[in-house]
């Protein structure tokens, strides 16, 4: 009877084989999923992120260039090169997303700062123009000599 029972080493080996087979099965679907991944899904994802950046007023010209190229390659069925272009686009998008807050804040400061300057311009003209005019008027005549009319005779 004991010859039909597996030894400890055989039992461990069998368990190891079963676990290896199970882990292989659990990995297989993921690999298969990666192979059948829609090549356009990554493109759409990057496009949506680009639109979000553009709507915040950020210059996305560089990303659009990469995405246009990748789209051409996707349409031509050259998926490998298309993914390379998309990787470049993703790098730029990630960089822009990181700096987006600061860029938006700077843009707002410039915009509302310029608005405030423009709003104060009429007030500044009202207060300063007469003073500047008087200063210039006196400066232009600073070498003038005032002479009494009757002393000239």
């Amino acid at each position: 009877m004991s010859r039909f029972l597996p030894s400890l080493a055989e039992a461990l080996l069998a368990t190891g084989l079963v676990l290896a087979a199970l882990s292989a099965v659990s990995v297989l679907p993921r690999v298969a999923h990666a192979e059948v991944l829609d090549p356009y899904s990554k493109f759409y994802e990057l496009y949506v992120r680009t639109v979000k950046l553009a709507s915040q007023g950020i210059d996305v010209g560089e990303v659009v260039g990469y995405l246009s190229k990748s789209l051409e390659l996707l349409e031509a069925g050259r998926y490998g090169e298309a993914f390379e272009e998309m990787a470049r686009a993703e790098d730029v998008v990630a960089r822009l997303e990181l700096s987006a807050g600061g860029v938006v804040m700077r843009g707002m400061l410039v915009k509302y700062g310029a608005t405030a300057v423009l709003a104060l311009l009429p007030v500044a003209i009202y207060l300063l123009l007469p003073r500047v005019y008087v200063y210039a008027w006196y400066r232009a005549r600073r070498r003038w000599v005032v002479v009494r009319e009757h002393t000239r005779r």
């Binding site: 496009y47 996305v60 789209l71 423009l118 009429p122 003209i125 009202y126 005019y133 008087v134």
Partner: protein, 166 residues
């Protein structure tokens, strides 16, 4: 005292002009960049120029044309030009696309304020619609980034041609 030196009426005119300039400048600064968003679709001949469009096409052959897509939506658009072949009764409207089955699509990415002109080779089926003249229909669709679906833009062009059956 100062106003006596600078003539009062002249000064009033200068201040009025400064107020007007300031108001106009502020309005320009605060208005949205895109006041009226729109897209554009144009159909050009094989030399990418307006006019001298082909009048005859061969069944089973191809016709070469140029397509212009313009974008002023405020963001880059992912545009798709959808080619369909039908008759005058199959034309789309400004709100609904043609019910015909698309024969070919052309997808381009157009930056805001930019445009793209590209050549297209449109296949004419072996058995085109039975009509004196058939309509080459091009519809402009764009990808809606919020909903993640392709949406008909309401822009379309068509060109009537006679099909020569060989």
């Amino acid at each position: 005292m100062f106003v006596n030196i600078l003539d009062g009426e002249v000064f009033a005119v200068i201040v009025a002009i400064s107020i007007m300039g300031s108001a106009l400048g502020i309005a320009q600064l605060l208005r949205s960049e895109v006041v009226e968003p729109f897209t554009a679709l144009g159909l050009l001949n094989q030399d990418c120029a307006i006019g001298e469009y082909p009048k005859y096409v061969f069944a089973g052959g191809e016709v070469e044309l140029c397509v212009f897509v313009g974008n002023n939506m405020g963001y880059p658009i992912l545009a798709r030009v959808v080619y369909k072949l039908g008759t005058g009764e199959d034309l789309p409207t400004n709100t609904t696309p043609s019910t015909l089955k698309p024969i070919k699509n052309f997808t381009v990415l157009v930056a805001h304020g930019g445009n793209v002109t590209f050549k297209v080779r449109l296949p004419i089926p072996e058995n085109p619609p039975e009509a004196d003249r058939v309509a080459i229909i091009l519809e402009l669709w764009f990808y809606d980034p919020e909903r993640g679906v392709w949406t008909y833009s309401g822009r379309w062009n068509h060109l009537y041609v006679q099909v020569v059956r060989v």
